[in-house]
Symmetry: C2
Subunit: 298 residues, 2 copies
Amino acid sequence: MLESWTDEAAKSALIEFAARAVDSVAPEELVAVFDNDGTLWCEKPAYIQLDFLVRRIAEQVAVEPALAAEQPYTAAASGDLGWFGEAVTKHYNGDDSDLKLLAGAVLSANATITTEEHAARVNAFFADAKHPTLGRAYTACGYAPMVELLRYLESLGFTNYIVSGGGRDFMRPVTTAMYGVPPERVIGSSVGLIYHNGELLTTAQPEILNDGPVKPVGIWERVGRRPILAVGNSNGDIEMLQYAVAGPGPSLAMLVCHDDKMREFAYTAGAEKAVAHAEQSGWTRASMRDDWKTVFGD
Amino acid sequence: MLESWTDEAAKSALIEFAARAVDSVAPEELVAVFDNDGTLWCEKPAYIQLDFLVRRIAEQVAVEPALAAEQPYTAAASGDLGWFGEAVTKHYNGDDSDLKLLAGAVLSANATITTEEHAARVNAFFADAKHPTLGRAYTACGYAPMVELLRYLESLGFTNYIVSGGGRDFMRPVTTAMYGVPPERVIGSSVGLIYHNGELLTTAQPEILNDGPVKPVGIWERVGRRPILAVGNSNGDIEMLQYAVAGPGPSLAMLVCHDDKMREFAYTAGAEKAVAHAEQSGWTRASMRDDWKTVFGD
């Protein structure tokens, strides 16, 4: 087990924690939670879901060309992905104007369709789309060592949940095949749904942004227990990791560090506070470069 | 199996549906949802949760006697349960004044404690409280034929969820022992929670009222699939039952009818629309009097 992990501190910490947990914790309390973007799959150069949304927005312009007069439709129609990155950069610099335009378009991009139709759009995207620089299908952008970890924990009786800021209904169609995590164990962000005549319809209303302190709340809502293992990679995972290690029994918080420019990407932007918390609190650090023999497993 | 069910139409419908489902549906799609109040446990003469809340409100008055000057604290402190029933009756007659007082008190009754402390209060209640007229512990107020049905479905590979208007965190501490349904499969109403320093704290803010058209939304949020069997007993279950039978494969909607004055209670108030829908749509009717050999199983 854990063959893709080098025999360093991260692997030892996982094995020692798991052994202690199995020895001392009731089986139903063996709950592990995993962030998705940057923890289970690649999040660079942009969130996979952003590619899904930009393609959808471009489709909307194709149907209704007048939309192209305004952002983000202009950028999506012309394939100007830089605009989207800029919108986020401007947001971090205190200018929310483009992000607001983007949020409105993103929320309405898949509105007023049934949950089944939404799943079909997601499946069509994943059947077709490829990572822009890694030259592989997005469905092959999951981290092999993390998938191994999921299987390892499962073999010991753990129940694994995904707890992501990404869209709940964007992840669900692929998590079973990619990670062995079924829809009922995928916790994510969502728009509001409305019941109508036997169907559930998407709306353009934001409902849950499952990030930061909202993650522990979502875990309680969906699991009804405190997890004892939490794995994340960014500032939005801090509270989830704190929550996991604040319980009375054995627990482990792990932070995946993107320090592998050769095989994936090297970045700390968006993880600065999490790294500081990890050092301060003694959280386990998983270095892609040093702890993983392989990243994508092929 | 289903020994507590008489050999009438309801039992046959359940067995025939289950056989068809197991033959033609993928195992992960074998999802069944059950309302709780009036479907899995007794809801008369008052919701069990109301007893929990009134006792808590009386405790608050004991600590802070000045509260007794106002309703519902006056009624709770003096054991005047009639006031609470009246508040609901007035609401149905278009006067919401008392219900608003009640709602405020109910929402704040267990505010600003951790989820663990809340569970401890619920456990203390169930360890002590008895049904006011049936002379049995509330934990013995589950319907034996329904518990049999849960086990029967489980033996065929179904996954059972509770989908109730009752409080999610009020039900969770007892559903495993009473029904064999663990916390992660209990969907209910909730107040907002706030993450603080490794703990989740209750608030007095209403979050989800899991009733009527909200039930299918909650099912999708938590399960990510359409159920194929839904069992309810009241107007608040109509949309959940419609949702279950609107899918393409085999499905069953069942309405429990309280027509057994001798062994439980006989009432249709709050179920009038559901009964009309059942007749119109050919939903299966489970009569407590005619379809159940026993109600509480002892």
